[in-house]
Every structure is written in C-alpha cells, then in structure tokens.
C-alpha cells in the first residue's frame, strides 16, 4: 500500500469532516422537517473532534487510520448518527485490510462493508428512507461504471450524481427508522436528512478531487 493511497483517504475523511462542520445548520434544518433537528449538531460535534485530533491519528496504513476515526465518531457523535457512522467507518477500516491498494474496486468493497454495517447496526434496509437509500444504489452505480471501464473522473461524477438523485428520491418513501419514522405517511414528500447530507458530502469530495 502506498502513501498516496493514504493521502486520498485522508482527503476523503477530511472533506467529510469539514463538510459536516460547515453544513451544521443546513443538515439540522433537513432533519427538522420530519425528524428532530439534531443531525447537523451531532455530526458537527463529532467531526469537529476528528479535525481537532487530526494530527494525532496514527498513519501506519489506511485501516489503522480509519479505525481511529471510527472510535472518535462512535464516542463523540450522539443520536443515531454516532453508532451508524461509527460502524460504517469501522467496517470500512476492516475491509481496507484486504487491499494492498485502495483502487476503485477496493472503494466499492469498503462502501459495501460500510452500508452493510449500517444495516446491521440500525436494523434497517433499503426502502426505510435512510442514507442507505442514497448510498447503496450509488455504490451499485459506481461499481457498474468501474466494471464498464469508465475513467476515474467519470466514475466519481456518476457516483456523486447517483447519490444526489437517490437522496432526492427518498422524498417518495415513508420513514421507517429514526426519529423521522414517527411522522409516518407525513414523512412522504420531503427527502431523508441523512441521505441528503451524504449526497452533499460526496459532491464536495468529488468536486475537490482534482485539487486534493
């Protein structure tokens, strides 16, 4: 595994963290529509800590790095997001061990591990109107593009576009998990807060990739 790989992962994590901090208000407002409005606050407080501890993380390899991020997130993010995002990072970290290099294929495997972890932790699945409904189909799309031999930039663009589309499409679903689920049918008509947040984060990662 190369240092360049780690730099890419660092870029990705750093962008996630910075976006969560920058968009605290916006993510909170998404969650207020049918949820309880704390998503922005919870993510910001956790990822703020990630940024604060940034220099202290060990950087032996991608897996070790991600595992420490998982610990910070799990211990510092409240609400549903702490356990869910923490599990996602932990599973991605474990999966990263299988790869010498973080290729597109590795990224897909790590994303799958992450979403499988969220499903297990959240006792949830596709159709429950969660971030899974954006991230899982977008991962499928990313895999399809890679398999089809598309160039890296196109793959990234397709991934971001798909996440955004699927996040918006959660509007049609009825929430079955999280605080939003108590809104029942009334959750239909507005997109899931977690899914939108993930879409915005991924768009930022992709947009900044060339200058990372």
């Amino acid at each position: 595994m190369t240092a360049t790989n780690l730099a890419d992962i660092e870029y990705v994590v750093r962008t996630i963290a910075q976006t969560a901090v920058d968009k605290e208000k916006e993510f909170g407002d998404f969650d207020a529509v049918v949820g309880d409005g704390d998503l922005g606050y919870s993510l910001a407080r956790g990822f703020e800590k990630v940024l604060a501890d940034w220099d202290s993380y060990k950087r032996e390899d991608v897996s070790t790095f991600l595992q420490q991020i998982a610990v910070t997130i799990t211990s510092r993010i409240g609400g549903s997001s702490g356990p869910l995002w923490g599990t996602a990072f932990l599973r991605a970290s474990v999966t990263a061990k299988q790869f010498n290099e973080i290729t597109g294929t590795a990224a897909v495997a790590m994303l799958r591990a992450a979403t499988d972890g969220i499903k297990a932790r959240g006792n949830s699945d596709l159709g429950d109107k969660t971030l899974l409904d954006a991230l899982v189909p977008a991962t499928d799309e990313l895999e399809r593009m890679i398999t089809s031999g598309a160039n890296a930039a196109d793959c990234r663009e397709a991934f971001a576009k798909s996440t955004r589309e699927r996040a918006e499409a959660t509007s049609e679903l009825e929430a079955k998990r999280g605080r939003a689920s108590y809104s029942g049918e009334r959750s239909i008509g507005s997109p899931d807060a977690g899914a939108l947040a993930v879409a915005i984060i991924i768009e930022r990662i992709v947009a900044g990739w060339p200058e990372r």
Binding site: G78, P83, R177
Partner: protein
C-alpha cells in the same frame, strides 16, 4: 430565538453545572461525560439505576437523580442520544456488585448506543442489563418500525425499579418490576406550539395559529394528526380515548393519572386538564388512586401536555409510594 442561553453548544453542560451547584450535598457532575450521579454513589449494596436519553426533557432525567430514584442520568445533547463513550463510562462508573440497569426510551439512536454500551461493558465484566420503555400509544407498533416511543410514562418505570432496587431486589427482579410497570403504562401527548432547540435557534416545526398536533413526540416529532384548537375538555377526550382503549383500561381499574406539561404550558392549565381527565375516568368506572400533575418529561419550551395512565395493583402502588429525594425541591 429568545432563551436564557450563552453558547448553544454549552447549553447542556452549563445547565448541568448549575444543577450540581444547586445540590452540592446530593449530586455530583462529571463534565467529561455529561454525567449526573448521586454524590454518595454508587451504592455497593443495590442495583444501580441509570437512565439515558437526549437532553431537553428536564426535569427528566438529570433532575431526578437521588435516593429512591436514579443513581445516575446519562444525557446526550438536546434531543440526541448520548455518544457511546458517555454511556460506556457511566456504566463502568456505576457498576455495583449487584449490577447496573440501563433504562432507555425506545428510540433508534438510544437503543443502538445503549445496546452497544451494554455489550461492551458486559464484555468487560460489568453485570449490566438494558430495559426499553415504550409507553406512547400515538405510535402504531408494527414490525415495520422500531415500535413505540418511550415518553413521560417512563417516570413510573423509573420510580418502581428504583424503589425495588432500594429495597434490595436483585437485577432480574428489578427488571421484572420494570417490565411489569412498562406493560401497564400508556401515554399520549398533544402540542400547542413547537419547541426551539437552542442550537437550531428556530422552532422545530410549524404549527398554524389555530393548529395543534395530536400524538406529538417529546422531540418535536410530528404526531398522529393535526387538528384545529379545541376546548380543553375535547383535547382530554382525544388523548384519553386512545389510551384507555389501548391497554385497555376498564371498569374497576385503579390507576395512577399523570398530566405532564411539555415545558411551555403553565401548571394552572395542567390542573384544568387533570380535573376533566379525572372526571371522565370516573364516568368509566376507573378510579384514580394516585395523581401527578406538573412537568415530568418535557420537550424544551413546547406548549402542550401528555396524559399517562398506569394500571395499579398492590405491588406497583406500594413501590410508587416509597420515599424518594430528588433535586426538584419545592420547600
């Protein structure tokens, strides 16, 4: 937003610091984990009772720590389940040879984090169990959802398990008592206004000038349906009917009746609701054996109320009757 707040991020810590300063003899505040515990705890001779949840429901739960009630409360930020670390550290700190019971309202986030903390602490040798409370009849319980929410009725579970623990019951017996009380407790709430979380700075949802939300949750989650404002007696009917039907409560039952304020409603109005609920129950042959009127589990500054019924038997009534000493001092 007009609130008594400095930095919204410090809202919960500053409240907890005030709480500890006001109760130096009885409470201890551990800032690293938002933890409020009995100053003399943990008592090695009893099961430790710990309640976790988001903040914003005060006096639940940080203000009901004391002899005969909670040994500790482990709050997260406003409306957010506490992070894993907080729960994990609290559990270890409260470990007594007789064990620790983690009481949790049944919400996705809380459930995940407390289950994780319980697993982790158990793996580390702590004798710890979790009990989920789900008294809210406004949420349809189904296999497609996480199920009912825990709301103000959790007070009765807390009081009963705390009394049992204080009497010396072991962990399994304490859990039996808690499950029993939870199984006969039913709540439904109504919001007249939305609440404003300090960090958000604006109301969590919009209610029209003449609208109310029936079946609202304690985190500002929408309820069963919107309705136009109606006379207080009709609102009592809207809350009481689903509650009574649900268990069901029936002719000859003896109950505890709680009218709980959601934060912005004055106690005068709560007593007005109480009077009507009491009379409507009497008409159905249901006798109020114990009454509770005031704020128990709030939703920040939301104007509104919830009604809780608990079906009493000798065991439950005796446990509810045990003494308790908590910071909500009146005089």
């Amino acid at each position: 937003m007009k609130k008594f707040v400095n930095n919204p991020q410090q809202f919960v810590p500053e409240m907890l610091e005030g709480l500890a300063l006001a109760n130096p003899d009885t409470l201890k505040y551990v800032p690293e984990y938002n933890l409020i515990m009995r100053a003399d705890g943990p008592d090695q001779n009893k099961v430790s009772i710990v309640q976790g949840s988001g903040s914003g429901h005060e006096p639940a739960h940080v203000m009901i720590v004391g002899k005969g009630m909670l040994d500790a409360a482990c709050p997260g930020d406003v409306f957010a389940a506490p992070p894993f670390d907080y729960v994990h550290e609290t559990t270890k700190l409260m470990a007594s040879p007789k064990g620790v019971l983690l009481l949790v309202n049944n919400y996705t986030g809380d459930k995940m984090v407390f289950e994780m903390a319980q697993e982790m602490s158990a793996a580390e040798g702590v004798n710890v169990k979790t009990l989920f409370i789900n008294d809210d009849v406004s949420v349809e319980d189904s296999t497609y959802t996480i199920g009912r929410r825990g709301v103000a009725g959790n007070f009765f579970v807390i009081k009963a398990v705390a009394a049992a623990a204080e009497r010396g019951a072991d962990l399994d017996e304490v859990i039996r008592v808690g499950e029993k009380v939870n199984s006969v407790t039913r709540t439904m709430g109504v919001a007249l206004t939305a609440c404003t979380p300090p960090a958000k700075g604006s109301p969590l949802f919009e209610l029209g000038e003449d609208e109310i939300e029936l079946g609202v949750g304690i985190h500002g989650e929408p309820g069963r349906r919107r309705a136009k404002i109606m006379p207080a007696n009709d609102i009592v009917e809207e809350l009481l009917t689903p509650i009574v039907k649900d268990l069901p409560f029936s002719d000859g039952d003896r109950v505890a009746l709680m009218v709980n304020g959601l934060g912005g409603t004055p106690i005068s109005e709560l007593y007005l609701l109480y009077g009507q609920a009491h009379k409507r129950l009497a008409e159905q042959g249901i006798t109020v054996g114990r009454s509770y009127v005031g704020e128990y589990c709030t939703s920040l500054d939301m104007a509104g109320a919830s009604i809780t019924l608990v079906r009493l038997d000798d065991e439950i009534e005796s446990l509810l009757n045990d003494p308790a000493e908590i910071p909500i001092r009146v005089f």
